[in-house]
């Protein structure tokens, strides 16, 4: 019944999934925040760049982006991101693709948070003589972040599941192991069920914890 289940293999594969998720989450949080800053900033060129980036990247399927990182950046242009073996190169390329894609969603979630901060806050900050970056860093973003924990949790859960696309370029994460097992053991439903359960184990606590956090930190207005 469960003869395909090698616990070490399974945990190893899900560990790669977790690593992909964590690196991509951190990366997209940083790049997404910068994009959001650009989109609400005073410089038209930056605003334009942020808008174009978000609208272009958000509308390209993730599979296309990930496969492009491998076939376009690596195969054709020889960009290996400092990796020397194929598994390392592919992992980094996948993280790059996931960051590029997820940042667009992080940016939009954060921008909706920025819109919840009353204009008076920013005006008061300007009146105190703070620069644009200071207003953003000290006054607006802290309040914005506190109001978007829930949407961010959604983005994080989507990202966790999106890491499965990395198997398209041969990153040995959960979906990759699943394909191998199905090919070998011909027990489609059982194997798929185990992996579905694995992902629920990852995403369900994420949702619950962040839901609780969002209640804790929400700005009472």
């Amino acid at each position: 019944m469960f003869d395909f289940l090698d616990m070490n293999e399974l945990l190893g594969a899900f560990w790669v999934t977790v690593k992909l998720t964590v690196y991509s989450a951190l990366g997209s949080l940083i790049w997404g925040t910068m994009l959001a800053g650009m989109r609400v900033g005073p410089i038209p060129l930056m605003r334009g760049f942020g808008t174009v980036y978000v609208n272009v990247v958000r509308n390209i399927p993730l599979t296309v982006i990930i496969v492009f990182t491998s076939l376009g950046l690596y195969s054709t242009l020889g960009i290996a991101l400092g990796g020397d073996t194929i598994p390392v190169i592919n992992f980094r390329l996948a993280v790059l693709g996931l960051i590029a894609y997820t940042s667009a969603f992080v940016c939009e979630a954060l921008r909706s948070g920025i819109n919840t901060v009353p204009v008076g806050q920013a005006e008061a900050a300007r009146a105190l003589g703070l620069s644009f970056t200071q207003v953003l860093r000290l006054i607006v973003l802290p309040q914005a972040f506190r109001s978007v924990v829930n949407p961010m949790a959604n983005v994080l859960i989507a990202l966790t599941k999106n890491t499965t696309v990395a198997s398209a370029i041969g990153v040995a994460e959960a979906a990759y192991l699943m394909k191998g097992l199905i090919e070998e053991y011909a027990a489609l439903l059982l194997i798929a069920g185990v992996f579905a359960l694995g992902f629920i184990c990852l995403t369900l606590p994420t949702g619950l914890i962040l839901g609780w956090v969002s209640k804790k930190v929400a700005v009472k207005r």
Binding site: M1, F2, V67, S70, L71, Y74, S75, T76, G78, T85, I86, P87, N90, S167, A168, I169, G170, Y176, M178, K179, G180, L181, I182, E183, E184, Y185, A186, A187, L188, L189, L190, A192, G193, V194, A196, L197
Partner: protein, 283 residues
């Protein structure tokens, strides 16, 4: 056994979801899974539609390839007209399920006979003995022996048996790049990012024989594994198995088998094995 309960439950949910999507095709079930070979009905056969030379859907909607030729011959022997044959794509992961559910009468889709699969489905044949081999650039002479693959960059399809063989047995030190399809591997091979593409020689021959790649690649001719292609059918359907086996034997005898091999693999210089004896599975 909590785990088992939960898994069973989730499997049930999944199967419901799968069943729900499967019913959307709007085809009558009894067309596919009739008993015996009543002429006049239609027959649904599972094939691959993305493997040149084996099973490929052409832009005009027709199907070509060795598996398609075999399936067509067998269906005719079972008493169906060519116009009554309905081809349906069965992806590797989906083959057992398609047979068990009765979506297809039988499957000819580069389907290697192995013990795990035999527990779920029955096989007629084998009708072709293929081997795992590698495809290299036509001007590359650095790989003379499977051992030379160590340290080279190899490409295969995610989750395939060929990829596993390389990792575990053939060349553990080779770097393995896996993509969703063979076409991506060929891009890398052309760009010299990848040194060799590995899978069954029959599939490789099909790719090498394509118009776009003529003369660019060559088969190394390593026989690194035995893949016995069989025709998958519902477990326990001894009558159908007997009929298909008889059809396969006839196909070899009357020369149609050789013709199909020549037509589909000829341009690649593929040294195919002679037609296997029915029931003789080369381990």
């Amino acid at each position: 056994m909590k785990l088992r309960k939960v898994t069973a439950a989730s499997a049930a949910v999944l199967s419901l979801a799968l069943a729900a999507t499967a019913c959307g095709s709007g085809k009558k079930k009894d067309d596919a899974a009739g008993g015996g070979s009543e002429a006049g009905g239609k027959i649904t056969i599972g094939i691959k539609i993305d493997q040149p030379g084996i099973g490929l859907k052409t832009p005009d909607g027709s199907y070509t390839g060795f598996d398609v030729d075999v399936a067509t011959y067998v269906a005719k022997e079972l008493g169906y007209k060519e116009s009554d044959i309905v081809f349906k794509e069965t992806k590797s992961a989906d083959r057992e399920t398609a047979i068990e559910r009765g979506d297809v009468k039988f499957i000819a889709a580069s389907y290697s006979i192995n013990d795990e699969r035999l527990q779920k489905v029955d096989f007629a044949g084998p009708y072709l003995l293929a081997h795992q081999d590698i495809l290299v650039r036509a001007d590359d002479d650095s790989i003379k022996d499977p051992k030379d693959l160590n340290g080279k960059k190899l490409c295969s399809v995610t989750g395939s048996t060929s990829a596993k063989n390389v990792k575990e047995k053939l060349a553990p030190k080779a770097q393995l790049q896996e993509y969703g399809g063979y076409s991506e591997c060929l891009t890398g091979l052309e760009n010299k990012v990848i040194d060799a593409l590995t899978t069954d020689d029959s599939i490789l021959a099909g790719y090498a024989a394509q118009e776009a790649f003529k003369g660019k690649f060559k088969l190394a001719g390593f026989r690194m594994s035995n893949e016995n292609y069989g025709i998958g059918l519902k477990k326990g359907d001894a009558d159908l198995k007997k009929k298909i086996n008889a059809a396969l034997e006839k196909m070899v005898k009357d020369g149609s088998w050789d013709k199909a091999v020549e037509a589909n693999f000829g341009p690649a210089g593929y040294k195919n094995e002679p037609a296997p004896k029915i029931g003789n599975i080369v381990k």
